[in-house]
Amino acid sequence: MEIRIANVRKEFGRFPALHDVSLNIRSGELIALLGPSGSGKTTLLRLIAGLEHTTVGKIYFGDEDASQKSIQDRNVGFVFQHYALFKHLTIADNIGFGLRVRPRATRPSRKEIRRRASELLDLVQLPGLDRRLPRQLSGGQRQRVALARALAIEPRVLLLDEPFGALDAQVRRDLRRWLRELHDKTGHTTVFVTHDQEEALELADRVVVMSQGRIEQVGGADDIYDAPASPFVFSFIGESSSLPILVRDGEAFFEDERVSLPVRDCEAGPSRLFIRPHDIDVVADGGGTFSGNVTMVRRNGGGRRVELAIGSGGHRVEIEVPAEVAPAIGSTISIRPRRWRVYADAAPTGPVTTAAAMKAAEPSRAVAAE
């Protein structure tokens, strides 16, 4: 089922949770809504489910306007972060709930419901747990039951709200892989919400990065990671540091000093330079683009993280060095970025001319360097 979200706006009271959001979800796609808390990702998911109603805008399931339908009629499978299993019902009755409550005319027989429940239990790899109660199951098992319950109604869309958020790391990784396999097997159009970027990038066909009620970027893991559309996406996905620079006449200035950084294609004006720790080379003999004093060194898995204070402003930049290298605190290190991106500051500070203001109002054009 294809889902089209058309210019949706949602306000709670007078607080806008979503501003004019549009998104097309392809049939059979596994898509992640990723963002920090308060970015509106859960609101968007609940709007698709019909648990909330749009203030403005429409949501289409195929060609059908779903905004006109009640939750009950939308036929969506919804999985909650805290499972929301019915504690007083057995696992089989939980899974069969959606079939049990159908009107008599379309309700399968008791026997058929039982059969379907045990079939779904096999699918979620929990065979033989029919007669247990939810409290006798572990968190990971409960979430799989919740998924089976959502699948039982043969939903047109499967919606998951931070499905693995309440589970510990190991279970989470296993369930993630398992969900991907399940999706490939059943082919449901699936939307899930997460604040865990690793989960989103690893699991989803496409990731929707959201911030403050807006969609920042939609794309595959490579697009999101290698070509972030905005400074927000750059800093939210993966690790990064940034430095304020000024672009003028095709040259970059950091704290009023020219730095050797090719920025010919960048927009002129105050900008920010974004770099990732592993995209920075350490240069011997002080010939780098920036240099700074080591303020912190810590072991990080296979390598070592070094934190530098750069310039008179003491801007913090993190770099990754091999584990064998252990710079002393206070020593000076010279660095040169290998890959970086420059984003023009969106909101200029201080008085600006009209032309400059108009330019600033445009979406900031980013320029990448390889």
């Binding site: 648990l51 499978g77 909650f80 929301a84 019915f86 007083h88 959502a150």
Partner: protein
């Protein structure tokens, strides 16, 4: 050796010691306040002799009074169960001006002397009273009036037992039910009510017990016509006034006690079953 054995059977290791002290206190306290007075009551009723006991207990007037007491209390407890549920629902699910005020008002029947409640209800529901005037049938001096008084005194129980459970009930359960296609009624009966059942039964039992024992407010609403709408506590008082000894009153009281105990036992068993079936609130 024997000592450690008994200890390990009854007490579990805990960070707060004092099983002996608290258990001893509990037994002494219960004995002084509940067990000894009840034992005295039963002893007193036995003093009339078995034949006399049986005669008073199976006397038509006694049976009628018991029927009235337990029957009307049952109706009152059922009404309280239904409205208590709705009241608890409104108080936990909605935020509206005056909510705290209404919440506080629920406990008033506990605080008010029952006689005061009886007088207020009696004058309101009298034939020429503010409310009674609207009805072309009698409310006071009839079973209806008694039931209203019994509802009044039992009101807080169901509300107060259901409220905390309802507050803990996750709203996501209703949302889950809705996404699975359940309409409002199915959601209420299949998702919301079952987990509430143990708490509702507790409230029901308390309200029932309270209503059976009620005297103060009922006497101001109904004078109690023998064989028609006389409640057992009323009959006990009448027996006390009629007779020189406590005997006959104690007999009726003992019968009441036995019946009430039996009823509460049944409700407790039902509750235990409900808890097993539907899980505790947690």
């Amino acid at each position: 050796m024997a000592r450690t054995l008994t200890q390990s059977r009854f007490r579990k290791p805990s960070v707060i010691p004092g099983f002996g002290l608290t258990f001893g206190f509990a037994v002494t306290y219960l004995s002084l306040i509940v067990l000894i007075p009840i034992a005295a009551l039963i002893l007193k009723s036995a003093s009339v002799g078995w034949d006399e006991f049986w005669r008073i207990a199976t006397d038509g007037r006694t049976l009628a009074a018991l029927r009235t007491s337990f029957g009307l209390s049952l109706i009152a407890a059922l009404v309280n169960m239904f409205f208590g549920l709705i009241l608890a629902w409104v108080l936990t699910r909605y935020r509206f001006p005056g909510r705290r005020l209404i919440d506080a008002m629920v406990d008033l029947p506990f605080a008010l002397p029952t006689a005061v409640a009886g007088i207020a209800l009696g004058s309101l529901y009298a034939v020429n009273g503010w409310i009674g005037g609207f009805f072309d049938f009698r409310i006071t001096y009839t079973a209806i009036g008694i039931t209203i008084a019994l509802i009044f005194v039992g009101l807080p129980f169901v509300v107060r037992t259901v409220q905390p459970v309802l507050e803990d009930l996750d709203k996501e359960l209703e949302e889950a039910a809705a996404t699975l296609g359940a309409g409002r009624w199915k959601t209420i009966f299949r998702v919301i009510l079952p987990p509430l059942l143990p708490a509702v039964l507790t409230g029901f039992a308390l309200a029932y017990a309270r209503a059976v024992g009620e005297y103060g407010s009922v006497v101001f609403v109904s004078q109690g016509i023998p064989y028609r709408n006389e409640i057992a506590p009323q009959l006990i008082v009448i027996k006390l006034e009629e007779s020189a000894s406590y005997g006959p009153a104690a007999v009726i009281a003992t019968v009441m006690l036995a019946l009430a105990f039996l009823l509460l036992l049944c409700i407790n068993l039902l509750q235990a079953w409900g808890r097993r079936r539907f899980g505790s609130a947690g």
